[in-house]
Symmetry: C2
Subunit: 213 residues, 2 copies
Amino acid sequence: MGSTKDNTRSDKHNRILKAAVRVFARYGYFNSKVAQIAREANVADGTIYLYFKNKEDILLSLFEDRMDGIIGDLRGSIGDETDPFRRLTKFISLHFDLIRKDPDLVSVITVELRQSAKFMKEYRNDKFREYLDIVEDIVNDGKSTGVVRQDVSPLVVKRGLFGMINELMLSQVLSRRRNAQELSQLAKQVIEISIRGIAIDPEQAIENGCKEV
Amino acid sequence: MGSTKDNTRSDKHNRILKAAVRVFARYGYFNSKVAQIAREANVADGTIYLYFKNKEDILLSLFEDRMDGIIGDLRGSIGDETDPFRRLTKFISLHFDLIRKDPDLVSVITVELRQSAKFMKEYRNDKFREYLDIVEDIVNDGKSTGVVRQDVSPLVVKRGLFGMINELMLSQVLSRRRNAQELSQLAKQVIEISIRGIAIDPEQAIENGCKEV
């Protein structure tokens, strides 16, 4: 009985977050009303406030929850790989796959989230750091095995690569025309530039990093 | 007489924009009031509305005006250079100099501007395109003189490099500790990664691109 209640609670929580992604992506964060999210989630307006304090809390919870998913997917995808460049390739590819799989989520992350001053100035911390650390680890491993240049700063790469990917994702969700082929070309460009940018032996790195991906 | 009037008009216009940069950087775009900008500019509240429709119009005019300045500085700085990698080096360096010279402006561009939905979804166009085209021209020139890889997409480089620089500028204005040395190290990292990322002969490109800069 308790377990059923928990499931119902977790189910409603998820339904509200799913609805919020759609509503934020469609109307924009500022124009969205909590009542619209309730309607989209098929719950009563008051129900939302059992789970979330306000609209900004929905946005921040959404970020936490979806980042958990993205971090899990990234770790799952690169987990078996030992070559740092193949890991980087998979890290980058997964982002461009996400544009195709869940454009609403990408739109919320790249456009709407930045419209929360709280997120930009105070919040953008634990999950974001955990996400960035995946790249830091890749770069550090590559330095310790001697395939990434010693003078490369993992801090600059993790933040710079995020900026690069984020901006290209943003330009994709804001443009109406886009197709799977274009997205995979984009991913390929970012992969080549990043690998060549940090590798000691770029040609070898590209050969290792890009095979069968 | 007409010229004096024009000067007064242009002077007030500039004072308001200057004040707006300080106010937006200090209180954030959303929390800022037009009355605060008027006080900071030492003009009457009503005067602002002779020049601007509303707070968002101030923000967008500010962007136009400052982008003109930045584009002018970039063109001035790289104008004499023929080597594409030296031009890229100067393009990147100027951004990191700006963090030191005008952190309030960098804060408005990287944080506050993104909080205008209008800017993000509709507006970000002419000036931004003009700015990005500087990088596109550098990459195209490098391809035509055979020093940049033929398969590099100028579109990806201009947008990706902007994303990279923008994210690193953002992380700098949000962090309290920063010094000139750290900024020049950051610039150096971005320069090396970008040049190596696109060059046919990375070692030669770094030697040409970074000498005496």
